[in-house]
Amino acid sequence: MTESTLFTIAFVLYVLSLVVYSSALFARRERWAGGAFVLAVIGFLSHTAALILRTASSGHAPFTNMYESLSFLSWAIVLALIIFGRSSRVARLGPYLMLIVVGLVALASSPLMPKGATPLVPALQSYWLWLHVSVTLLGEAFFAVAFVASLLYVAADSEEKKARLDALAYRAVAVGFPLFTLGGLVFGMVWAYKAWGTYWSWDPKEVWSFITWLVFALYLHTRIVMGWKGKRSAIIAIAGFLAALFTYFGVNYLLAGLHSYA
């Protein structure tokens, strides 16, 4: 099977997973959610195979253009769902995360995204490509979990649900923030130093990573030192994910800079 076939299979399974999740939610059949989770896991396996095939055929890391990095980010979000989905006991996490995943995969599949594997420009020929991009996107995937949990928190009605969502958001940040710091900022600085001779250039993408980092630093300080929990915490986590999304997406299209790849 080719990479694009496997990717399409993954896409179809993600959509099915989303449909079953939504039905479970609206029909109040909690058992169906288990089936939706299994569909997501099978889709994830197919997606993993697609990423491996792409790496094998292109000879480089599968995140060097927008199509590839969208595909990898959606893969990482499904991974975060697999890690947190069962233990969090939050029924709505699955459907809403899968909604984001389907949105990202649809965007990746849209005709706007060139899908061809182009040979790497000299600046990207480095093993730091693997470390920098994969770890950053993994961190952002966990921010997505915190984002969904925080949105659900704001909408939740019972105290019991709220406590669970608040704890889930924090746990997701506790994984995402160190990963984002390490991948986005530390590995990014090391690579920039190796490629350009300066570890920090105040390039818009760098500044937006720093802004994202500051927002999550705010999240932790208000929470741990000042005891903010609940709604205010949730709003900061939402803002943090939006900042991460802008760093990933918006900077490329709206602001010019060194980071013109993806």
Partner: protein, 463 residues
Amino acid sequence: MRSAWKFFSSVKLAIVLIILLTVASTVGTLIPQGRSAAEYAARYGSLAGLFTALQLTRLYQSVWYLALLLFFAVNTIVCTLARLGPKWRRAFRPAPETDAKSVTSMRASARFRLPLTIAPARDRVAGALKARHYLLDQSAHDEKVVIQARKRRLGWFGSDIVHLGLLVILAGGITSGLAGRHAELALADGQTADVPHAAFQLRLDKFDTEYYPQGGVKDWKSTVTVVEGGSAVLTRIIEVNQPLTYRGISFYQQSYGWDWSRAQIVLEIRKPGDMTTFKTVTLKVGERAAVDAPDVTHVVVLRFVPDFVIGEGNQVQSRSDEPNNPAAQVEAWKGEERVFSGWIFAKFPDFGHGGEGDPMTGAKTAAKADAPRVAVVLKDYSAAPYSVLEAAKDPGVNLIWLGCLLVSGGFFLAFYWPPREIRVVLEASQGRVELAAGGQASKSREAFRTEFDGIFESIRRPE
């Protein structure tokens, strides 16, 4: 002094500073940084002056942004120190808890009797705790033994290590800003240049651009030789992502270009009617070449640009260094009479055959209005490539990496190395021992409770 300490030890200040830094940093991405005054004037009109005065155009180097960072640093130092003392005592010199009641009021607790005397009971408890890698502090008062057990004590200091790391990174940034040196060396093949701030030279032996078979640049490679005291010391290939470091100075493949001012040009001198070629000549910019045809004695190349464009004031400019629209300004002479003058284009050979003027520039050529007697075609062009290497000496870099290491390690400790503490009070009564125990962990409490229950189960019912 005390009020300054109080001011800086406030977490509220930290939060205000984080918000201010976020907002300021955002502004800096909305206004392009470090452009020319003319560009700002064109973009922002009357606001440009205000932006420049507020240093918004060099925001990240501005006095107020740096002051913000400095405030943040002092705030971090004071906040960290103010909280370090109590944490230190808790981790390394805990006050012994002797009261059985307060011990069992901790999150996890256990209370039972052991059919033992105090010494073997103490040994059993100590053995069980040590088996789970706890460090013990014991104290005995009369018939009472108090055991304090703790593990993963470093976890208490995770956030402090992150803060220290951030300060080290900031110190590294300041060092880079004050003592870092960056210079560009543009070298053609065979050329040698003095390396700034160093007692050696760098020679470019060869510059290569490699292409993929399907097009697109694969790599830029500069083969360079370090020359020290007149003799070659080492030869190395510098590529993008593969810098060379010699005596603390690193050389990066940064850019490349062609020396178009000394381009070599190939011209065809033709007869305008049937376009038969009189002669093909090769010459450099600024040179003249003999043609010796009936209507043309010689030609001159006045100028060459790789990417022809008409700029301000109808001036010819090159839009870029890439040969996107190569053009040459040439003249053809018959003795003392100029028979052709104008710009000719490699990609548009129909333009500029002399005569009425140039269709792209609109500039009048000096040739007469009657039919041109000669056509000049820009057949080929080439220029020597040069490599641009960045020479950088940055003494702040090691601090940056140290800071990054501290931040990463601190994060690990803060999130994934939660300290655990268990307190046990043993009291002898009527030939048996009353055991009261309590414990707490700052994170992963369920895992801790499992461990706690396991420990006390093994004390109550040893194998």
